[in-house]
Amino acid sequence: MEPVEPNGDGGAAMMPGAPAVALIKMYAAREEIYPREAKGRYATVRWACVWLTQLVFYGLPWLNWNGRQAILFDLAARKFYLFGLVLWPQDFIYLAALLIICAFALFLVTAVAGRVWCGFACPQTVYTEIFLWIERRIEGARGARIRLDRQPWSVGKVAKKSLKHVAWGLVALWTGFTFVAYFSPIHALLLETGALALESWAGFWILFYAFATYGNAGWMREQVCKYMCPYARFQSAMFDQDTLIISYDQARGEPRAPRARHDPVLATLAPGAAGDCIDCTMCVQVCPTGIDIRQGLQYECIGCAACVDACNSVMEKIALPPGLIRYSTGHALTRGLSVGAIRRRVLRPRVLVYSGVLALIVAAFAAALALRTPLKLDVIRDRGGMGREVEGGAIENVYRLQIMNTGETAHRFKIAVSGIESARLATPDEATLGGTATRALPVRVRVDHGKGQPGSNQIVFELTALDAPSLHVKEKAVFFVPR
C-alpha cells in the first residue's frame, strides 16, 4: 500500500513487514489562497463600502470643530471630544450603550441578511481588499501570482515582492498613524512623525497598529475570520432557515456538466441530464476564504458574494439566466419560495424581537444623550466636624462642591441651597468655571438657631448658569444639626 499522507507535507513511516503506521497531524500549515478578482454588482458594493469606511476613518481626524480637532479622545486629560459633544469618564455608560447597540444591530442584520457585515464592512475584509488590490497591481492576477510563488527566487521576484511589502507597509503605517491621531492631535503628530521625534508611546502604537494591519490584511487574511474571530463561530445562533445566505442552487446546477457555449451535444441530452453548473470553478477561485460554495453553507463563508459575481458573469457568457449562486434562504431553496415570499418572511419573531430591543436601546440612548446636562455637581460634606455654632446661635455645616463644567463654554454659576427653613450660603453664592473645567469649591451653609431637627436634615444644592438658566443641576446633601 501507499504511505498515507493525511495533511500535506508529512509522510508515514513504513517499514517492510511491520504494521502500517499513519502519521496524523493536529496542526496544518496554511495553504496560500490566491483569490481571483471578482467583478460585478457585489464587488462594486464592496468597493463602495471600502471607500466609504476608509474616507471616514482616514478623514475624520483632519476635521476641525470650534478651533479644535473634531474627534479627539484625549486619554491623558480624560476628555472625549465628538464634534460638539464632550464626554467625561463619568459618561462611560454611553460607550456601554453604544456597544450594546452595535451588538444588537449585528444580531439583527445577521438574522435578516447573514454575514453582510463580514463581507462588506468588517475592517478585516476592507483592509484585505485594499491589500489584495495592491498585490494584484504589483504581482498580477491570480494565475501570475501562483506562477510567481512557484518560481525560484530571481531578481524580478525579489523586486516584486519587496515592492509589494513596501507598499503594504506604507498603507499600514498610514493606518497606524491615523489610528493614533484619534488620541493625539493630528497636526502635531504629523510634525513629530515627520521629524521622527515621536513621544515613545505614540510611536509604539503607530507601529503596533501598523504591524497589526500589515499582518492581518497581508498575511493572516482569511485565517482571522476562520480561527480568530468569535463572530464566525456564534453566528449560527442568529441564523435560521429564512436568513439570507449565499447559496448554490443545487436543483438547478446539478449534475455538473462542463461544456462550451451552445454545446451541440447538450441539445441531444434528456432534460435534467445536465445541470446549469459547468464546473468552471470560478466560484472557488474568487473565494477569499478558499471554500467551494457548492458544498453548501460553511462557517468559513463570510458572505462577500464574490462567487455570486463570478458565477453570474459565467452564466451570462454561456447564455443562461443568472442566479445559480445567489443570495437566498434555506426555506427558499427547499420550498421554492419567490423573492416576494422571502421578503415577507423577514417579519418573523426573531427579527421583530431584535428590532424591538434595538429600537428601545437606540431611543433610550438618543434621549439620554439629548437630555444630558453638560454640568455635574457632587457634594461632599466635610466629615471633620458635625456642625459648628456661629454668631447668633446659627449652625454652620461645611461642604465641598465638586463642580464639573463638562461643556466647552465658560459660565458663571449661581449656587442656591434649600431644604431647611432659613438655609443659606455663608460663602459667595456665585462661582465662575472655564470650559471643560473642574473646581472644588468649599461652601458654608448656615441655618438659624432652632430650625431643622437635631441630627440629619436633607438639603438640596442647586447650580444654575446665570447666562443659560436651562443649564442647571440639583444634588442632595445632608445638613447636620448638633443635638
Binding site: 500500500m1 501507499e2 498515507v4 499522507e5 493525511p6 495533511n7 508529512g10 513511516a13 504494521p19 502500517a20 503506521v21 499513519a22 502519521l23 496524523i24 497531524k25 493536529m26 496542526y27 496544518a28 500549515a29 496554511r30 485565517q223 476562520k226 480561527y227 461632599i380 466635610d382 466629615r383 471633620g384 466636624g385 459648628r388 461645611v398 461642604y399 465641598r400 460663602t427 459667595p428 456665585e430 462661582a431 465662575t432 472644588a440 468649599p442 461652601v443 458654608r444
Partner: protein, 315 residues
C-alpha cells in the same frame, strides 16, 4: 524577601512553576501529532486520508480531523518562551528577584520621580519667591487651594475654619504667630501643643472652677464676680505660659485667653475640663512628606486666607 520562615516554599513554588511550564510544552508537543498503527482491517483503507483521525468507534463512527493552523501551535510555544523569559527577568520564581530587579516599590518611586520632574519646575518657580508674592499669584493660589483640599481639609475643614480642637486658619488669631515664615514653619515641622493638667496643682474642683470663671472674664464673658476674684488670685499658675493678662505666648504656642476664639470650647465646663485635665494637640509635620517647595506654596495659601486684603481679589 522574608515572606516565609523557611526556604522550602521558595523551592516549592519554583519547582511547581517550572514543572507546569515544562508539562504544558510536553503536552503541546505530544498532542500535535501521533502515529496511528493500522490494524489489518484498516490496512489499505488509508485512514486520515479522508480527513479523519483514523479513530473508529462503534464500527462506523469516525472522527474527523480538521487540523488547527500551524501558526496557532507556534503561538502556544511562544507563550512558553514568553513565560520563561518573564520568569528570568521579573520576580516570579519564589524569592528570585529577576534579572531586571523590578519591584513594585521601585515602580512607585519611579512614578514619584517622574511627577517631581513634571511638576518640579512649577513649584521651583515659586520656591524662589517671597511668600507674600506667592500669595498674590492667582495660579499659586489655585495650586495651594488644591494642596490644602488634599492634605489639610481633613482636620481644618474645606473652608479652613477648623472645628473643635483644630484651629481656624481664616481668622487672625494665631497660636504660634501669623507671619508667613512662621506659618510655613508650622506646616514644615508641625507643632506639638501641650496644656498640662493643672487640676492637682490648683487643688480642688472649686479652685479649677474659680480659675475658669476668671479665664472667661478675660474675654468679657459673663462670669461670677466672686469666683473671678478668687480665680484671679490662683491664675498665677497659668501666667508662666499664658502671661499676666492671659494674652498668651506665641513662642510657646500658648493661646490668647482674652479673645473670643476657643480652640476646645469656651463654656465654663469645657474650660474647667481644659484646666483640670490639660490638652494635647498635634499638628503633624509635612516637610518630609510634601517637600519644601510644595509647603512654600501651601503656606502662602494658608497665610492669604486671613490676609485677604493683602492678596489679589479671589472669587
Amino acid at each position: 524577601m522574608a515572606d516565609f520562615t523557611t526556604g522550602f516554599w521558595d523551592g516549592y513554588i519554583t519547582v511547581l512553576t517550572l514543572l507546569s511550564i515544562a508539562g504544558c510544552g510536553l503536552l503541546l508537543w505530544s498532542q500535535s501529532r501521533y502515529k496511528l498503527k493500522l490494524t489489518p482491517a484498516q490496512d489499505g483503507e488509508a485512514p486520515g486520508a479522508a480527513g479523519t483521525t483514523g479513530h473508529i468507534w462503534d464500527e462506523d463512527l469516525t472522527e474527523l480531523n480538521t487540523p488547527m493552523p500551524r501558526w496557532w501551535m507556534w503561538l502556544f510555544y511562544i507563550t512558553i518562551v514568553f513565560a520563561l523569559a518573564y520568569l528570568a527577568l521579573y520576580p516570579g520564581l519564589g524569592s528570585y528577584a529577576g534579572k531586571l530587579g523590578w519591584k513594585s516599590s521601585g515602580a512607585y518611586q519611579a512614578e514619584l520621580k517622574q511627577a517631581d520632574a513634571d511638576y518640579g519646575p512649577l513649584f521651583a518657580k515659586y520656591a524662589g519667591q517671597d511668600l507674600k508674592a506667592v500669595a498674590a499669584d492667582p495660579q499659586a493660589h489655585a495650586i495651594g487651594e488644591r494642596l490644602f483640599m488634599t492634605y489639610c481639609a481633613q482636620c481644618h475643614g474645606s473652608d479652613a475654619r477648623g472645628t473643635r480642637g483644630y484651629p481656624d486658619l481664616t481668622d487672625n488669631d494665631w497660636l504660634y504667630g501669623g507671619a508667613p515664615s512662621v506659618v510655613k514653619a508650622s506646616i514644615l515641622r508641625g507643632r506639638n501643643g501641650q496644656m498640662p493638667a493643672m487640676g492637682a496643682a490648683l487643688g480642688s474642683d472649686k479652685d479649677v472652677e474659680e480659675v475658669a470663671h476668671y479665664v472667661q472674664s478675660l474675654s468679657g464673658q459673663q462670669a461670677d464676680p466672686i469666683k473671678i476674684v478668687f480665680g484671679k488670685a490662683k491664675f498665677g499658675a497659668c501666667m508662666a505660659c499664658h502671661g499676666a493678662g492671659g494674652l498668651g505666648n506665641q513662642a510657646l504656642g500658648a493661646p490668647n485667653l482674652s479673645d473670643k476664639v476657643w480652640l476646645h470650647g469656651g463654656s465654663v465646663e469645657t474650660v474647667m475640663q481644659t484646666i483640670a485635665k490639660g490638652r494635647s494637640s498635634t499638628m503633624p509635620p509635612f516637610g518630609d512628606f510634601l517637600g519644601d517647595a510644595k509647603v512654600h506654596v501651601l503656606a502662602a495659601y494658608v497665610w492669604s486666607l486671613s490676609n485677604q486684603t493683602a492678596t489679589v481679589a479671589q472669587q
